[in-house]
């Protein structure tokens, strides 16, 4: 089993810290989605792993072997660029054959591997076409074939669908996922699109402030966001400022009531922070109770396939989203009972 280890990597960009103490592991057969806002250093991390840029400190290891002094072309990794970086002076076939020719393989083997690589991305008939004449989706396929043809030990994909329009993206996402799983090559897939990450990833790694903020299976990350930033990045925005008033069980006082969230690591009485109220798991109750209840005015209630999306105004300007099975009347004041597992307490960063 192969393992890529990124070990405490740091990198400054124009004398601003971009990556700070970043560690990550990728194992064979695994597709890791590196998720983060644009400018968070995702692409830079890929370039450091590929050896295109040096890290300021830290190491990149392959099966425990330090790659720092191994030049890019000897690392045996593949990297697919966002704009594909197909060589305009070569045709489709020559682009795909580029890496194979450098391995000094016999012509016949190059030919058959190029053919099968093009075959696998449904581009067989395009071998003699100029890459500048291809559509975005076709270029993406050729770039994938070019990256996979030399059989890299690790494949990195830098927003490979980012340059394409939305309709095409869904289809190619499916193809890409299938390709990567079939080859079994470990892959790091960089994206800023959480839906894309959810659809593809075996594991999600969230990059924020130069560190991996959280890493885990998509379901796990959604169920238990590790920080307020993760929650907000994943689109969970029902956050209430509050203060811990009891630790056994954990009790939080907010401006809109007392809540008893599931648990939190080492809560201390008096600490301030934010309480996340997940949009699911809210039940309509007739009257407010002394804990775990939220009251507000229904601003809108829209039907969405199997539930209602309710916008609840707690105070002027403070509106939370909840999904409910029953319809609520607009303008009416309602009371919601929130289960402990739908609440997560994030203490304020020190």
């Amino acid at each position: 089993m192969d393992t890529l280890t990124v070990d405490h990597v740091a990198k400054n960009y124009e004398s601003q810290p971009l990556l700070i103490d970043l560690s990550l592991e990728v194992h064979s057969g695994e597709l890791v989605c590196l998720l983060g806002r644009s400018g968070s250093g995702k692409s830079t991390l890929l370039r450091i792993i590929a050896g295109i840029e040096p890290a300021d400190s830290g190491r990149v290891l392959w099966n425990g072997e330090d790659l720092t002094s191994v030049p890019t072309h000897r690392r045996g990794f593949g990297l697919m660029f966002q704009d594909f970086a197909l060589f305009p002076h070569l045709d489709v076939r020559q682009n795909v054959a580029f890496g194979l020719a450098l391995q000094r393989l016999p012509e016949s083997e190059i030919a058959s591997r190029v053919d099968s690589a093009l075959e696998s991305v449904n581009m067989r008939g395009f071998a003699r076409r100029r890459v500048t004449d291809l559509s975005g989706g076709e270029q993406q396929r050729v770039a994938l074939a070019r990256s996979l043809a030399p059989r890299p030990r690790l494949l990195m994909l830098d927003e490979p669908l980012g340059a394409l329009d939305r309709a095409l993206r869904g289809q190619l996402q499916e193809e890409l996922r299938e390709q990567l799983h079939r080859t079994g090559i470990p892959a790091i897939y960089v994206t800023h699109d959480q839906d894309e990450a959810l659809a593809l990833a075996d594991r999600i790694a969230l990059l924020h402030s130069g560190r991996i903020e959280q890493s885990g299976a998509p379901g796990e990350v959604y169920a238990r966001p590790a920080s307020q930033w993760v929650a907000e990045f994943l689109g969970m925005s029902n956050l209430l400022p509050g203060e811990v008033i009891g630790t056994a069980p954990l009790t939080v006082r907010t401006g809109y009531g007392i809540f008893k969230p599931e648990t939190a690591p080492e809560p201390r009485a008096g600490e301030r922070g934010r309480l996340l109220l997940k949009p699911y798991g809210a039940d309509l109750i007739p009257a407010a109770q002394d804990a775990d209840t939220l009251s507000g005015k229904v601003i809108s209630s829209t039907f969405q396939i199997d539930h209602y999306l309710v916008k609840l105004e707690l105070a002027p300007g403070l509106v939370f989203d909840f999904t409910m099975r029953e319809q609520a009347k607009e303008g009416e004041t309602i009371h919601l009972k929130l289960s402990p597992e739908s609440q997560i307490w994030f203490k304020e960063a020190q």
Partner: protein
């Protein structure tokens, strides 16, 4: 009311520039052809083939050699400018580019000031070795011509290849590295193939300039180096053998047309800025030891090749090494402004003397007239081109052709076509700025026309709807928008006229000479005073043209 006047105006926009080109370019050209053919075949004594073939052969091989050397020196320089940041880079870039923009005569004078018999190198060696004759004889050798050509044309390689290199997506090279290519393989399999169009374009352009080189060869090579240009000049002005000169011109035109055609086919769709571009992205400081060595070597090389001749020129104009002719006794060596003072006085008391100050005044007047003519006709042609529905390529070709024709041929055309009333070079001195305008017109059109084409029709329509007459639309909307481009074209015309040498050398008579002609004459005279005055005049031209280019850079910089 709306259609007829505008059609009439459109026709005027076409007709006036075409009359100008027809009279001053095509008519002389046809006259040369007629002369070459009719008299050649009517001759009792046939023209020896070697009269044509010898200069042709020499022209080609010196141009090939010059272009090859320029590429050899220019490609590493282009690489260094495209890839690295180092202290003083912008200054070095401007200084490196300067020679190409300078008049050929000034470039030749710069090489002379550094390497000539009175140049710094020889003066230094004479002091050092305690000898009285110049130890390094480089003027009147092929080496001088080659050095001057590299000096003059290296900016083309740096501009054309360097900008392509800087625009080259670094991801191309990174992608190749990831796919397993070593640095050398990246260069041979990705970088050079991607740069090939720009390298070929630069090589052809340099070849074209070396092929039509005239001033440099006349000043530095001396009479034994007969290129086509020099041969046309000597056949026409020394031997008065106009048919042979015409035939040589014909050969010259054919060659340049072929190269220009190949070049324009290759350059189509390529963005080739010939002016310094002071931006820098994707560049970094040299990191690896080998990079540091390459960058340092290139900086030293460029300073030696590109900056030293200009520095030598300026310093020679204010330094006295030796006695002037006729001066006796111990003399003061060192800093002097005598050469500049001498520009205003007739020291030799010759009746044929034309003071350099007069030449400078002539140059200034011709330059101003050239600006007026080329900007007026350039604007008309640019409008005609923008509005034309048919035949645009024909107009474009007619305007661009003078650029592909050598200056010497233009000059020859003028003297064979206008040798009697109503247009006579002896009595009609405006022919000189007319010739300059032919060279300047393409530049004006090429700068103004894109600006004009970029004005959306909605601007004019909006102004009309708001109540503007067509004239008001022009003065209040279009003119302000294209004024910057017109100014750039005007500065181009001004510097072209100031530096023009080839055509002027045919046309400048007695007191109508220009600064470049005066520099040439003073350089070919013996004596330290003449040399010093040539240096002083060259320095003046250098400063004027340098400032003009600086102004251009400012104007274009603010428009971006």
């Amino acid at each position: 009311m709306t259609r007829r006047p505008s059609r009439w105006l459109n026709n005027l926009l076409w007709v006036v520039p075409l009359i100008f080109l027809g009279t001053l370019f095509f008519y002389p050209l046809v006259t040369i052809l007629r002369l070459a053919f009719s008299e050649t075949f009517a001759r009792v004594e046939p023209i020896q083939a070697s009269t044509i073939l010898h200069p042709l052969w020499f022209t080609i091989w010196q141009a090939v050699l010059s272009a090859a050397l320029t590429l050899l020196a220019g490609l590493p320089a282009a690489y260094v400018f495209a890839k690295f940041n180092f202290p003083g880079k912008q200054l070095l870039k401007v200084l490196t580019t300067l020679p190409f923009i300078l008049p050929t005569v000034v470039a030749a004078a710069g090489i002379n000031a550094l390497l000539g018999p009175r140049g710094w190198l020889n003066m230094g060696l004479e002091q050092l070795l305690n000898v009285t004759s110049p130890p390094v004889q480089i003027t009147n050798t092929l080496a001088a011509i080659l050095i001057a050509h590299v000096f003059y044309n290296i900016p083309i390689v740096i501009r054309v290849v360097g900008s392509a290199w800087a625009q080259l997506d670094p991801k191309m090279e990174q992608a190749a590295r990831v796919l397993g290519a070593s640095r050398t393989q990246v260069t041979t399999r990705v970088t050079l193939p991607l740069l090939r169009p720009s390298i070929i374009a630069a090589a052809l352009l340099v070849f074209l300039f070396d092929f039509t080189s005239f001033g440099v060869i006349l000043i530095l090579g001396g009479p034994q180096f007969q290129t086509l240009e020099v041969a046309i000049y000597t056949q026409a002005l020394s031997f008065f053998n106009l048919p042979v000169a015409g035939l040589l011109s014909l050969v010259q035109i054919m060659c340049t047309l072929v190269v220009t055609w190949v070049y324009s086919r290759l350059a189509r769709g390529m963005n080739i800025p010939l002016l310094p571009c002071l931006k820098g992205e994707g560049m970094r400081a040299p990191r690896l030891p080998v990079e540091k060595v390459i960058v340092a070597l290139m900086i030293v090389f460029l300073i030696l090749l590109q900056v030293f001749p200009l520095a030598a020129l300026v310093s020679s104009s204010v330094t006295r090494f030796e006695a002037n002719r006729g001066e006796r006794g111990p003399i003061q060596t060192g800093f002097t402004l005598d050469y500049y003072r001498a520009l205003f006085t007739n020291i030799s008391n010759s009746i044929f003397y034309v003071s350099p100050a007069r030449a400078a005044l002539n140059s200034l007047i011709y330059a101003i007239v050239t600006v007026l003519i080329s900007v007026t006709f350039g604007l008309m042609a640019a409008y005609a081109l923008t509005r034309a529905r048919h035949g645009r390529w024909l107009m474009d070709l007619a305007i661009m052709l003078p650029l592909g024709t050598s200056a010497v041929t233009l000059g020859l055309g003028f003297i064979v076509a206008f040798n009697g009333p109503p247009l006579d070079i002896l009595t009609f001195p405006l022919l000189i700025p007319f010739a300059h305008s032919l060279v300047a017109l393409p530049f004006v059109v090429r700068t103004v026309q894109p600006a004009l084409a970029s004005i959306p029709a909605s601007y004019r329509q909006a102004a009309s709807v708001l109540g503007a007459t067509p004239w008001q639309v022009w003065t209040r909307v279009e003119a302000p928008i294209i004024s910057r481009a017109a100014l750039v074209g005007a500065i181009f015309s001004f510097t072209i006229s100031l530096g023009e040498f080839g055509a002027t050398s045919f046309l400048a008579r007695s007191d109508m000479i220009t600064l470049p002609i005066a520099i040439y004459r003073y350089l070919s005279q013996p004596g330290a005073l003449n040399f010093g005055q040539a240096m002083a005049m060259s320095t003046v031209l250098l400063l004027v043209c340098g400032s003009a280019i600086f102004a251009l850079e400012k104007i274009q910089g603010t428009s971006a």
